[in-house]
């Protein structure tokens, strides 16, 4: 019982640790930065949104919807092309990171 608990705790610690370090790195590595600019403040064109400081819940839902195809309007076709690069966990992490930017 104790060992099982330990493993669960270790796993939680490990995953949250990995996730924590990742926000800014994910933002660059998954190419978000190419269109939304440094820290989500300088989009490539006026047709793309500034995303720094946006609500995390909203960001997460939009990313999930663009990934699944549920959202296909506006410029989302441009973003759909890279959404296979991120997992649901990474999307959550990105949303958290972006929401905290000012």
């Amino acid at each position: 019982m104790n060992t099982k608990m330990f493993f669960v705790a270790a796993l939680v610690a490990l995953t949250s640790n990995v996730a924590k370090a990742d926000g800014a790195t994910l933002y660059a590595e998954k190419t978000c930065i190419a269109c939304h600019g440094k820290e989500g403040k300088k989009p490539l064109t006026a047709a793309y949104p500034k995303i720094a400081g946006q609500n995390a819940a909203y960001l997460e839902q939009q990313m999930l919807d663009i990934q699944s195809g549920a959202r296909a309007n506006g410029s989302s076709a441009a973003m759909k092309g890279v959404m296979h690069l991120v997992s649901a966990t990474e999307i959550k992490e990105l949303a958290q990171y972006l929401s905290k930017l000012k």
Binding site: A28, T31, L44, A47, A77, A78, G81, V82, L85
Partner: protein, 248 residues
């Protein structure tokens, strides 16, 4: 007559496209059209091709490209973004112009192609990319049967692809035939499939005629072989490529 109509229509639609301020891109008739002429020598493409590019001057302009294609030009081994380093300037300029003109559909790339509008800058950036060594840690065919796929692919490649793309995948600069060596397996497979199926609308009809007869499994083998090609003298040193250089 038909051409005049198309011209009039596109002129009428031009303001709407401009005011939209972003994607989706304008669409130009491509391989699906009877009047399609591959690599028509017109417009901004000619201008950029005529200008002399300086790799040193193109380095700064490449920064925006590097966000997806990486500073090394390596792209992503999963094939999402192609490897660009060492590619012919002619090929780079043509593809950029085709994407911008709505002849090659790529919604992700389109706004970037639209941003780089200065012919001289395009020539500089293209020459910078061409000057880069080709990374050797690109995506290859991974499977227990890799050896067999490469052997099968080689036989097919040497039969019909080699004439234009050459023995080491060098392509032909003056003819706009791309370098294949160092390209990601998955990108090669996707492009060949799309060219065969008419989805890459700026494709060369001569290539479409050849590739039409190949089925999916044959394209897998050909891609596996292409991804194994190496151009002596143009590749990066293996040690430099495997070094974990980017740690932030």
């Amino acid at each position: 007559m038909k051409n005049i109509l198309v011209l009039a229509l596109s002129l009428a639609l031009a303001p709407a496209i401009c005011f939209a301020g972003g994607p989706p891109a304008a669409v130009q008739a491509g391989i699906e059209s009877k009047d399609y002429k591959w690599n028509a020598q017109e417009g901004e493409k000619i201008e950029a091709l005529k200008l002399k590019g300086n790799p040193k001057e193109g380095k700064e302009g490449y920064e925006v490209c590097g966000a997806c294609h990486l500073p090394s030009g390596a792209g992503r081994p999963d094939g999402t973004f192609p490897q660009l380093a060492g590619q012919h300037t002619t090929v780079l300029i043509k593809q950029m112009a085709d994407i911008r003109a709505g002849l090659r559909d790529n919604p992700t790339m389109y706004p970037f192609a639209k941003e780089l509008t200065d012919a001289q800058e395009l020539a500089h950036v293209a020459s910078y990319i061409e000057s880069l060594c080709i990374p050797v840690d690109h995506g290859k065919y991974e499977g227990p049967d890799a050896e067999k796929q490469i052997v099968d692919g080689k036989a097919m490649y040497e039969k019909e692809c080699i004439e234009c793309h050459k023995a080491n995948g060098e392509g032909v600069k003056e003819k706009f035939y791309p370098v294949l060596a160092g390209q990601h397996y998955k990108y090669l497979l996707r492009q060949m499939t799309e060219i065969r199926d008419g989805k890459r609308r700026n494709a060369n009809p001569d290539m479409v005629a050849i590739i039409k007869k190949y089925d999916n499994s044959q394209l897998v083998a050909i891609s596996a072989y292409q991804a194994s090609l190496s151009m002596p003298g143009s590749m990066c040193k293996a040690s430099a490529a495997t070094k974990p250089s980017k740690k932030k």
